[in-house]
Assembly symmetry: C2
Homo-oligomer: 495 residues x 2
Amino acid sequence: MGKSVYNNVEAHKDITPRLELQQKSPKLMTLEEAIRHSGLKDGMTISFHHHFRGGDKVVNMVVDKLAEMGFKDLHLAASSLQDVHEPLIEHIRNGVITEISTSGLRGELAKEISHGLMEKPVVFRSHGGRGEAIASGEMHINVAFLGASSSDPLGNACGYSRSENAKSICGSLGYALPDAHYADKVVILTDDLVPYPNTPNSISEHDVDYVVEVESVGDSSKIASGAIRDTKNPRDILLAQQAAKVIVNSGYFKNGFSIQTGSGGASLAAVKYIRQSMIDQDIKASFALGGITAHMVKMHEEGLIERLIDVQSFDKVAAESLKNDPKHKEVSACEYASMHEQGAATHYLDIVILSALEVDVNFNVNVLVGSDGIIRGAIGGHPDTAEDSALSIIVCPLLRGRIPCVVNEVTTLITPGRTVDVVVTEYGIAVNPARPEIAERLKAAGLKIVTLEELRDRALSVIGNPAPLPFGDKVVGVVMNRDGSVMDVIKNIVE
Amino acid sequence: MGKSVYNNVEAHKDITPRLELQQKSPKLMTLEEAIRHSGLKDGMTISFHHHFRGGDKVVNMVVDKLAEMGFKDLHLAASSLQDVHEPLIEHIRNGVITEISTSGLRGELAKEISHGLMEKPVVFRSHGGRGEAIASGEMHINVAFLGASSSDPLGNACGYSRSENAKSICGSLGYALPDAHYADKVVILTDDLVPYPNTPNSISEHDVDYVVEVESVGDSSKIASGAIRDTKNPRDILLAQQAAKVIVNSGYFKNGFSIQTGSGGASLAAVKYIRQSMIDQDIKASFALGGITAHMVKMHEEGLIERLIDVQSFDKVAAESLKNDPKHKEVSACEYASMHEQGAATHYLDIVILSALEVDVNFNVNVLVGSDGIIRGAIGGHPDTAEDSALSIIVCPLLRGRIPCVVNEVTTLITPGRTVDVVVTEYGIAVNPARPEIAERLKAAGLKIVTLEELRDRALSVIGNPAPLPFGDKVVGVVMNRDGSVMDVIKNIVE
């Protein structure tokens, strides 16, 4: 074919001004149309992110619609699930959802599942493990339904907004990025449709197939709810202060160090209590990772933390900072904590402070299943960061009410003891025998070093020997290791 | 496997502080090691970007090394090639490079190829066409060698730097992003290795396999060289002013309009001359696309252009702005101009101003082959933006010295006339008959409307009928359409 075919000029273009043309974007449609276009079929895998935490409205909205459209036997692969997802119980009973993958479960849904609601066990993965499973193809997503705080009609989307009238802000979409990237089809749901180009953005139109405008994708007031509230609990504050002393005296408190604080009041608060030592000793952190909070943003703006790496924004201050500050960087779950990704952030993390439901005498940690055998938590990045960091610190009270937190053997294994270095309780600090140098440094700083056996015995002396939990024989959950092997299983609870 | 395997605590982690651990990054190696690790074999495809333009040092450095290591029969797939790549002539003669894909060719290399240096024709693609060919798998890259102005040891890389001692700044890496994303193996070469995390960044460690520290990746002083210098030529300024009048009176000069200026002094300068009209009429652009220049950055900072979408930074001011301004967004070649990507920026572009080597009476444009039959240009985003925009304006003098620019038939077809709306010369403005409404608006504004035939005749009356070019029978170049079909072929020149 040569140029001769172009020898005649002919009418040729859509001449509509492009600001108007956007309204005709072929990606803009209703949720039902998007589902039909996506080619979703019974038995396929749908995915969701949990950046709105307890305020999420997308999972219920989409699964209600899928039920209404008659879909069955779907695999729901969420980055995590919360109390608000209780309506899934009915959809499980009705056969719409027959398989779940998630980092965590809470509330009524968790209770029902713990009692054996589902035929197939729930598959629990860490955040890094989920990213890796998606990137490697081990978990293939057919259609991702991703709530966004803003999007343009072409699908450039993010967890913040430039609009005055933005409704639902969640900040980083880090856990949604592997889905956006690797799913066969990607549906963006947004309650703030803005003109192209929606920049800065985190999900690119390159990865988006459909854009659905909805009334609300989430309640921003709840992103800082539950396990990531700023604590006022005096015991949490004490634990945070002790953890700060461990950090400062650990040998890793040097210029250029890096730090992450996991969810839980005491761990999140720890960063506040190293601030003065950083100023006094003229130490700056190269980056804080996380789970970014207003405390971290403040210290970043003060120049104490050079860079923020944000896979999830834990409050609105963090979400706002992400929008405006080029040194506050959003990363995907893979870039955050994939085991096989040499450059993932956790591999270059010095210090992590994490919470626990239970720690046992072998430093094993449980953050998923309560001491009553009922699922009530989330793996999150717990095992990822504990393993990859140079120094992992668990903050954990000895008892919660009449429930012991230092035990002989964890109910469910989430984070292996060989990756846990220090356990901070209000009755003393236990150091993993594999890290004698850490124990020496903390002793030299006047901190009270104890053994986990002493702490366990102290807990038992208060509440007595607990009765064994009434587990049945049905496997209701499988905890995956980061490498795709099985770490532990969760049995149904009978009572 | 249960948790029992974790009942013994054991020595477990690398306890090196992570700032030191970075120096042991498994990705850090020499260029030769990276090539060996990459699995590159004879006959494979290697790729490069041209963001350093005439200052690029990566292509020659890498191909010299490949020659030294004995590689043969390689396909060099660059986003474009410049005068500085003259040393490739020897590598082609020696059989190291036997195939080339590029957007353009200049200088001695272009001259030799025009005379038949290579057995296989060079494949020319537009920037959007190349992005699409890579994303669709039509052009599969085995190893991408990507120069970066900074990188950390894990491969987070970009075209700017936070270092005081940054050496080579090029701004956007837009044309390298499809390579980073889709190549089997990605090698980052950098002359500014900074601590992790190198944020903000544009290429993620997720996509990078090897990081090579080199003396220099490019000469920043040359990124604003050649076709993208700020013009002081009075004729170019006249053409730019005429183009500005066309824009202002076209019917597309409305609040929220979008604009791109292609390379070439007159087209780049046009944006300067609409500034006052924007202020006077209180019109703001929603975005400028490109090819971002200092003029655009200035107007963005003044509030006249809301957002900048940057696939290539045309000067250092643009590169610096990209680093610091969240509303100045880097996009990949796909996000910029892929034909099949519904959300690509060009589809939402109102106005583009482009230059030309030749325009013919059917509005067809040639930007690649000189009137002497020798390749001396680049396709760039010319056909992509002309086709997708609502209004494409070509600025072109009637003659360049004794060479006519308005001709009966273009030497090589790059941009079909059906996608070209207006041609601006110093002797009048021609409007595509398919756009009568534009002609009416320009006439009403008092602009001089002529036909291309009149312009052609005027040129011929000055310089006489040119002799036919002495083309041979060998195909030395193939010009691809955006959809992967052949647009035109270039024959060897004999003399």
